[in-house]
């Protein structure tokens, strides 16, 4: 059909050309124009459905430009490096003998390649072949570029196109790591929670018999015992007890290891630490006499002496051994004066400490407790920090990390010791000498502090004075009325004069005194 159409076209064209001008010619051409257009449309539309034609064998011979691409690719396509065989729509022309299946084209693939080829390369092929047909001279030049058969390079399929998920092993590793982290989080959280609960269960009776309020989170309207721990973190639990003679209140912090964090678990495998129970008893002013005392492991004492404000100021000496009282060698004592140690270390206390020395990290009694040393930007704080009469206890849970809930019962005697200490401190009073020494110590510390900050306080006072002067000057300048301005200026000048005179008088007095 196509051939017929084209033949017709060719005939018409030649006829038109031969007959030249003339009205008949013109009429004929007008009549034939729509027919011509119609016939033209046919091959164009038919050309798209390449699969539909039956006479595939003739195509190889047909010399039209539309089919040139298929014709020439039979020569050059196969040895070309990396190019896949033409897609399905082009293959029938390559293998005309295999065109038994009418519409479907068989595609023979080379090894290692899937059916999808580089369409860009194929386009280039088409165009180069097209050029060869149109421009004969260039065709020869091009052909010299292609004669040698490039070796077949079989590219590996990119990993993301491979259908195996083994290539994603890194991702699988990552996800497995995340799952392991989540599992560890859940297990660690549960373990910590169980430990806290077992501690509370074993201590509940003792606490409830000693304190009116056991467990308070500070948010409820009435002061009613909640009877449970506050969970601050997945590894820190708080308990506030209050309502007892001799003390304001007691804050117990269960500081467990971070079992919920896998990184921490791995770090602890290299450097084992243990769970801690920290108890802080705050006292009223009348509940405690003025002294500072601490006992604990040597390492803890060294560290606390450096860190804490009160221990560094009042207990200047190095930690002493407690052998005099029968304490084991692992423990050391920091004290303000010997009398205090004698007072605190009575038989029962010594008994408690020696029996549970492995669980005691530090015990610290102080009337000047203000927390760790604070370093501010100005160098020193301008005011003495607030102090509070406090008893601090830090206990290590036995087990060194591998604690089970049963180990919490071992801490019960230590809680007894805490209660005993509260009552004892209330009764402990220094004798007159001791009191005098203590007062002198405190005065000394305050003086030191004031001296150190003297320069700073002077500076602060200076800046304040300058500020005042400047403010006054500004006021004078802003004064609209020149009269008032003048008067204010005069007043300021008089004040200045007076100050200078006063200073001179002082200097004179000092000179006289010195003489």
């Amino acid at each position: 059909m196509r051939i017929f159409g084209d033949c017709l076209r060719a005939d018409i064209v030649t006829r038109i050309q031969q007959e030249g001008s003339g009205s008949t010619m013109r009429h004929l051409s007008i009549l034939l124009l729509p027919l011509f257009l119609l016939l033209l449309a046919f091959p164009v539309s038919g050309g798209r459905y390449n699969d539909d034609f039956d006479d595939g064998e003739d195509l190889a011979d047909f010399d039209d430009n539309d089919f040139a691409e298929f014709e020439d690719m039979s020569d050059d396509a196969v040895p070309e490096a990396g190019t896949a065989p033409p897609p399905a729509r082009g293959s029938p022309s390559l293998r005309p003998d295999e065109d038994e299946d009418e519409n479907e084209a068989t595609v023979e693939l080379e090894d290692g390649q899937d059916g999808f080829d580089d369409s860009d390369a194929q386009d280039q092929d088409i165009y180069s072949k097209y050029d060869q047909e149109e421009f004969e001279g260039i065709g020869d030049m091009e052909k010299t570029g292609h004669p040698m058969k490039d070796p077949l390079i079989i590219h590996t399929v990119p990993a993301h196109l491979q259908n195996s998920w083994e290539s994603y092993y890194m991702e699988i590793l990552m996800v497995t790591g995340l799952l392991a982290y989540i599992m560890n989080y859940i297990i660690g959280k549960n373990k910590n929670s169980r430990l806290a609960q077992s501690w509370f269960n074993s201590h509940r009776e003792l606490l409830e018999s000693n304190f009116a309020l056991v467990g308070d989170d500070g948010t409820s309207k009435d002061a009613v015992s909640t009877g449970k721990l506050n969970q601050e973190n997945e590894h820190i639990y708080n308990l506030w007890c209050s309502g007892r003679v001799c003390c304001e209140g007691m804050l117990i912090q269960l500081k467990f290891l971070k079992r919920q964090d896998l990184l921490n678990v791995l770090a602890r495998m290299m450097r084992p630490t243990c769970d801690q129970v920290q108890i802080k008893v705050t006292l009223n002013d009348e509940d405690m006499d003025t002294f500072v005392f601490a006992v604990g492991t040597k390492k803890a004492m060294g560290r606390l002496q450096k860190e804490l404000q009160d221990l560094s100021e009042f207990c200047g000496d190095k930690p002493k051994s407690g052998a005099k009282f029968g304490l084991p060698d692992s423990l050391a004592i920091l004290t303000e004066m010997g009398e205090v140690t004698d007072g605190v270390m009575d038989n029962k206390m010594v008994h408690y400490i020696t029996n549970h020395a492995d669980k005691i990290e530090s015990i610290h009694f102080s009337d000047q407790f203000s927390g760790p040393k604070v370093m501010q930007e100005e160098g020193q704080p301008l005011k003495l920090p607030e102090t509070k009469k406090t008893l601090l206890f830090t206990f290590n849970v036995p087990g060194m990390g591998n604690t089970s809930p049963k180990d919490m019962d071992a801490l019960l005697p230590l809680m007894n010791m805490v209660i005993y200490s509260i009552d004892k401190v209330k009764k402990l009073r220094l004798n007159r000498e001791g009191k005098m020494k203590a007062d002198r110590n405190r005065a000394r510390v305050e003086e030191n502090f004031l001296k150190q900050t003297h320069a700073q306080r002077q500076e602060a006072a200076q800046t304040r004075r300058e500020e005042k002067k400047r403010a006054e000057k500004e006021r004078i300048m802003n004064e609209e009325d020149p009269e008032r301005q003048r008067r204010l200026e005069e007043a300021a000048q008089r004040r200045e004069q007076k100050k200078i005179e006063k200073k001179q008088m002082k200097m004179k007095q000092i000179k006289v005194k010195a003489m």
Binding site: A159, S209, L213, A223, R244
Partner: protein, 106 residues
């Protein structure tokens, strides 16, 4: 345990309410881990998104998990969720843009 006097030491009238300790007075006692991890997570997820680095995005996911595990209960869950979502989105975007599997550095 019991002391010699049988009097009940509890005093109802001496009850003091619990006041959570202020953190301005002792900033050193606070654990900075969750804040650092949060920040790291955000930085890594931004790197992963902008520079299309897959390993950055995965590290960001880990950082946000660690930050969540170490966080205090008083902390805002919205912050945690936002950093978590950001890191997940970084991972997803890196894979959408480039579905190739991650290559190990060795």
């Amino acid at each position: 345990m019991s002391s010699n006097n049988m009097a009940d030491p509890r005093r109802q009238n001496k009850i003091l309410r619990y006041k959570p300790p202020t953190t301005e007075t002792n900033p050193t006692l606070e654990d900075p881990t969750p804040d650092y991890m949060n920040l790291l997570g955000m930085i890594f997820s931004m790197c992963g998104l902008m520079l299309k680095l897959k390993w950055c995005a995965w590290i960001a996911v880990y950082c946000s998990f660690i930050s969540f595990a170490n966080s205090r209960s008083s902390e805002d869950t919205k912050q945690m969720m936002s950093s978590f979502m950001l890191s997940i989105s970084a991972v997803v975007m890196s894979y959408l843009q480039n579905p190739q599997p991650m290559s190990p550095p060795w």
